[in-house]
Structures are given as structure tokens and as C-alpha cells.
């Protein structure tokens, strides 16, 4: 359905094309960006996908007790959170398709074929150069990896502090596994603390202030 200005809604999950509604692109926003990112992810070439996987394994190296990043389809996850070509890059991680894929292409086959040390050097060079691709890749890989249910299971298995972590806060919550107050502690808490009554408030000695000296 069009709005009063005759604009069509932007594709679900995509932001509008211009800063000023009613101008240029002719799309209006439907509100909050879609949870889970784009309904139709940005598609990458096979080589670009291989670069994303290789980067994921470089940022979070494979470990015998943890899922391997490149086996978790982070490519699709990344595709859901990159802004499609032609749309304004409004939302985190502020990665626009054309610039993002150009960066992947620059890493290219040499990065995919490189040894772990070569790949580490290539990512370190991006970081050193403050290339926005570095922070975009790191954020997408960290957020993507640690949101996958198989990684949640590994957290349960491997980390004493993560034994009860179950991923999204709901529907389960943590009511059954969160410790209650200790009555003795609460009783002790009554022994400390005081307040000034309204008519007890008087001028303090301002000559002692350190910042005026």
C-alpha cells in the first residue's frame, strides 16, 4: 500500500533511500528495522563468501572444543546485516554492499588461499589502516558467531560461568537458576546508611573544594 505521498514501502528491513522522505527514491520507512536483518539477504559471489569464511576463521580461530566459525553460515548472517546497494546505510554495522564487497574483493583469492599467518597479516593490515571493513567484519563475525545456537551449547559445555546461558533472554528467562537474597545479608544491610532531614540541611564549607584552587 502506498502512503499519502504515493510512495511505496521500502523492501522489508531495508532503510529508505534518502534522508528526506518524499524525495528521490520514492520509498517510505515502515518503522524499526526488521529483527534479524534483511528478509532477503545480500548475495555474495562464491569468492566473496569464501573471503568472509576465511576472515571468520582468522578472527575466531578454530578450536577443538568450539564450533568452527566458517561452518556456521555466517555468510548469510552477514548478508542480512549489510545495507543493499542503493539504500542509505542507516544502521549498525553501517556496511554498504558496494563498499563492503569491494573490500572483500580486494582481499580476494590470495586471502582465501593464504596460510593462517598470511591471513592474520592481511587482517592486521586492515586494522592498522583503520579500514572500516575491519570493524565491520569483526562486529559481524563476533555478533554472528556468538548468536548461533551451537555456540550457545559450546558455552554451556565449556565454561562454568556459561553453564545456564540459553541464548535469547526469552521465553525462558533465568528465574529458576538465579540466587535469591540471603536473609542474614539483608539484616546486616539495615545497619548502614542515614539521611539528612529537610531542616537539617545547612551550608557546607566551600573553601575545601579542590577544583577551585
Amino acid at each position: 500500500m502506498n502512503n499519502a505521498l504515493g510512495e511505496k514501502p521500502a523492501p522489508y528491513g531495508a532503510p529508505e533511500t534518502t534522508a528526506t522522505p518524499g524525495e528521490a527514491g520514492g520509498f517510505f520507512e515502515t518503522g524499526r528495522p526488521r529483527l534479524g536483518g534483511l528478509q532477503e539477504p545480500v548475495r555474495f559471489t562464491d569468492l566473496q563468501a569464501a573471503v568472509i569464511d576465511a576472515a571468520a576463521d582468522t578472527l575466531i580461530p578454530p578450536h577443538p572444543r568450539w564450533p568452527t566459525a566458517s561452518e556456521l553460515d555466517l555468510v548469510t548472517f552477514v548478508g542480512r546485516y549489510v545495507t543493499p546497494s542503493g539504500y542509505r546505510t542507516k544502521h549498525f554495522p553501517f556496511a554498504e554492499e558496494d563498499a563492503f564487497t569491494a573490500g572483500l574483493d580486494r582481499l580476494g583469492q590470495a586471502f582465501v588461499d593464504g596460510s593462517p599467518d598470511d591471513r592474520t597479516a592481511a587482517i592486521a593490515a586492515l586494522e592498522q589502516a583503520e579500514d572500516p571493513l575491519f570493524e565491520q567484519l569483526r562486529a559481524l563475525v563476533y555478533y554472528g558467531y556468538y548468536s548461533r545456537p551451537v555456540v550457545t551449547l559450546a558455552i554451556n559445555r565449556n565454561l562454568p560461568a556459561g553453564r545456564d546461558y540459553h541464548g535469547p533472554p526469552l521465553p525462558y528467562g533465568y528465574l529458576q537458576t538465579t540466587e535469591p537474597w540471603d536473609e542474614e545479608l539483608l539484616t546486616q544491610a539495615q545497619e548502614h546508611g542515614s539521611y539528612l532531614e529537610t531542616d537539617e540541611v545547612v551550608r557546607v564549607d566551600l573553601s575545601q573544594l579542590s577544583w577551585t584552587k
Binding site: 557546607v204 566551600l206 577544583w211
Partner: protein, 550 residues
Amino acid sequence: MAAYEETDVLVIGAGPGGAGIALKLARAGVKVVCLEQGPWVKPSEHPHYHDEWELEKQRGWAYDPNVRQLPEDYPVTGTTTPYMMNNVGGSTVHYAGHWPRYKPVDFRKGTEHGLEGTIDWPISYEDLAPFYDENDEIYGISGRIGDPSYPDRKQAVRDPEVLPGKLGLKYAKASRDLGWHWWPSDNAIITVPRENREADQAMGNELSGSPTGSLSTPANAHWPYAIRAGADLRTLARVETINADGGKATGATYVDRLTGRRHEIRAKIVVLAANGIGSPRLLLQSAQKGHPDGLANANGIVGKYLMHHVFAFCDSWFDEPIEGFKGAFGAPLYSHEFYHTDVSRGFVNGFGMQVARSFGPAYAAMGTHTGYTAPWGAEHREFFDGHFANHLMVFMFGEDLPVESNRVTLDPDVTDSSGLPAAHVDYALHPNDVALAEYGIEKIFEATRAVGAVETNDTGVLYPPPGWHLMGTCRMGNTPDDSVLNKWCQTWDVPNLFVVDGSTLTTGAAVNPTSTIGALSQRTGEYILRNVDHITAQRTTPSNADAPTM
């Protein structure tokens, strides 16, 4: 057909300030229209059921409207990160729900030190206390009565307090061992179900709201009942101007964001409740004949004395599980050991230590609250495994001085999607605030190290401060020379125009402001109800001494 509609009371903004008044007046049979530029936030919009819940915190649930950029948001330029939301329920739709009150001394800071723009409130804690209780009952508050650092509040209604978990117990023991004050927090998080609202499940992440209704906000505590009582709540209704004629407010003109059409509503009384940035913005953009510098701004004080609180985030890690991902986010406990002024420390005012929760593993990898990002590559695994959920964060949360040059103005060069000027913020930290915050950071780590913290990291004094709290820009005061409002929240210039929101607060105390905004809303609503004929007959706003009493 008239080119305008008429109502008794027009409320602008559907957050805590506006909702409290609308509910009270509608229940008393007063005809109320409320204009809200944002929509209702639907339960399905919250990210709590999604695997990607942590990433979504940075997108549609980003705290800062300049980052979030939803259609209902407006830009705020300058030195600020204004953590506001524009929708039914206002910014409480993404707040932690921590619900402390001001203390009696907080209403008398002019007497205590009077530094910069500090003045006494025109009312006392005792004046507001019954309205705190009344307001709390509407919201639904969990907590424990008996904190010795506050006056008795046996009349307050409380659900049982939220669970502390390992995290809360850890900091409580640290405070106890040091002989410090601490107490379980009051939270706007229900632990007993209410009509249409589920009780808290220790889910956490209240900073992205609550799809179950466990977080108390006007969207679930007020509006369903205000509408049932006859209030007319109009969403996507963005006010362009508050109109005035002959020294009185006549109503407002708003843009319907769905159609782009303008509408005028006339009212006997107008209540502005658009938050500490939005309200001064709207008054300034309502400059018109007879009010060349903005409405209610003859003395030039509108927008001045902005306060945010001074903040530092303090992370501590332990070599044992803390499990910060569990439990209601609000806060399990707080310490007010350093709340009161002690000039031997070299500064006035004080701070609270507010113990927070953590989020999930992506939050740990991305650097928790202090930018301590997990290294990538060979060191990643060991770092993550040693830090995730071994983490405890405390907010150093101090009172900032009201400074005249910290202010909200209009930015004519930037506009919102309706073409209205953006708000602009100038805010600088005062040396007193910096001294206070640096002392506070030391004290927090003194506590966590005493109970075994093996590593710490902090943000230093945050600048600009995280703008969760937008206060003081249309403050209540004692005379038309020191404030925008009299002691009943009536603007000095326009007797039938009231302001009730964070901008109303004369000083910021060292506590979260929403319970006090809500209490002021109840008090102002009661005052309007009892004095409506008197107020509408006034040609000028009475002094605090001459105003009719409750």
C-alpha cells in the same frame, strides 16, 4: 465544521510526565487529548526472543535517536548522546527500570552549596512523598521497604524485590565487608503478574524493553486505563507549535505523520511533557507574536541548566562465575555510601554506585561496557573464556551541577522528517563533576578488589555523558528570575501552560529521575483537577506564595 477541535486539557507527549496527568484527569472525567509523535511499540518489535538480540541492541534498539533514526525520531546535534525514545511510553520503553527516589537533601542544594546555577526546589521531599507512593502503585514497583538511607516509606506498595544472583550477592558482600551502605533496589519491574502484564522472569535486557509487560512503563501501566477512561491518545501526531493568544496558551498545531496534514486543537489547559530536550525545543520553536524568543521564555531560561548526571562505567572481572546475563537488568542493589556532600573529599554533591547486569557472549566479545574488546586471532579464545560471565559492572552515577551554559537550543540547519528544526545541545563537564566521578571510580574498584576482582577496566569520566537523563531545562523555581516554572509546574509566563517531565527537575540528585517525574506528574494532575477554574481564570501566573493551594 470548525477548523479546529476543542478539549479541556491537551497533553503533549505520552511518556511518564504526560501519561500520569492524562490518566488522573481522564479518570476524573476531564476531556483529555494527548498528542504523541511516535507509535505504539508492539511486543513483537522487541528482540528478546531472537538469536540476534545482542546485535539488534545496536540497530532498531539503539539508545540514541541519532543512531536509531526511526521515522518518529528527531535529530539532536551538538555534544550529546541523547538516549531517548519517541513513542507511547516515552523513553521508559527502553529503560533499566531502576526506581530510586530523591532524598530530602536533594531539594535543598541551593542552601547546601548554591554552586553555579544551583537553587533550592520550591517544594520539599515531604511535599512530594505521598505522590511518590501514589505513582509507584500505578506503575508496579518491586523492592524492599526499610532502606535506612531514606525517610520511612511504609505506605509504599512493593512487589518482592528482583533476584540478586551471584552478581548482586557479590557486590552486596563487598559493601558489607567495607561497612558501606547498600540496599536492594526498587525497580519498575513487576515480580507479581498484573492485568495484561507478566511477572519478571529474570530475563535481563530491559534496556531493549520488555515484550511481556514485566517492565513498568506508561505504555502498559497508564495508557490502556487512560483510554478506557476516555482519554484520546493520538499517535504519529507531531506537534509543530504550541499556540498562544493574549498571554494564554490556546492549544497546539500538529502534523499527522501519516497524511502530512496539519490540525489544530484548542484547549483550556496545555501540559507539555516532551522530555528535557523535546520540551525546550518545542517551546523555542513556538516563538510567535508576543513571545519572540519562544513560549514561556521571557527570561531566557528555557533550555538552560541541562543536567545528564556524570557517569563512568566500571567493569570488574573475577576468576569465578558471576553470571551477569541472568536477572532483571534494573539493578539488584545500589550503594549510597557516598551520596551526601563531604567537602573534605574536595567536591560537593555525591554519587551512587548502581550495580548493573551484563548481556550475552557477543557483548563480552565486543568489549562489555568499557570498550574492552576481545582480541581477534590466536588470543581470542583464552580471552573470551576467561571474561564471559565472570564480569560485574557498576555505574558510577553522580550528581552534576546545573550550569547555565549547558543548554538546549534549536539547530536551524538540521530538521526532522516533518521539516521542524533539530534540537542542539551544548554540554561541558564541570570540574566539580569530574572530581566527584574520579573519586567514585576509585571507590567502586576498592569494593570489587576487596572481594577478589582480578582485572578492572573503566571508561574514565564519560564525555559526553550517556544522556539517559535529560533534566533541568524548564526548571521549577522560586521566582520568575531563576526558573521557567512555579512550584506547581506552571510556566511563569503563561498561566495555563504546564511542563512536567525531566526538564521540570530543579536539580538532578544522584538517582534515576523517572520515579520523581512520575510523582510530579501525579501532583500536577491533582493540582489541575482541584483548581481548574482558578487556573483558567488566571491572567498571570501567581507567585509560589500566592498560588492557590492543593
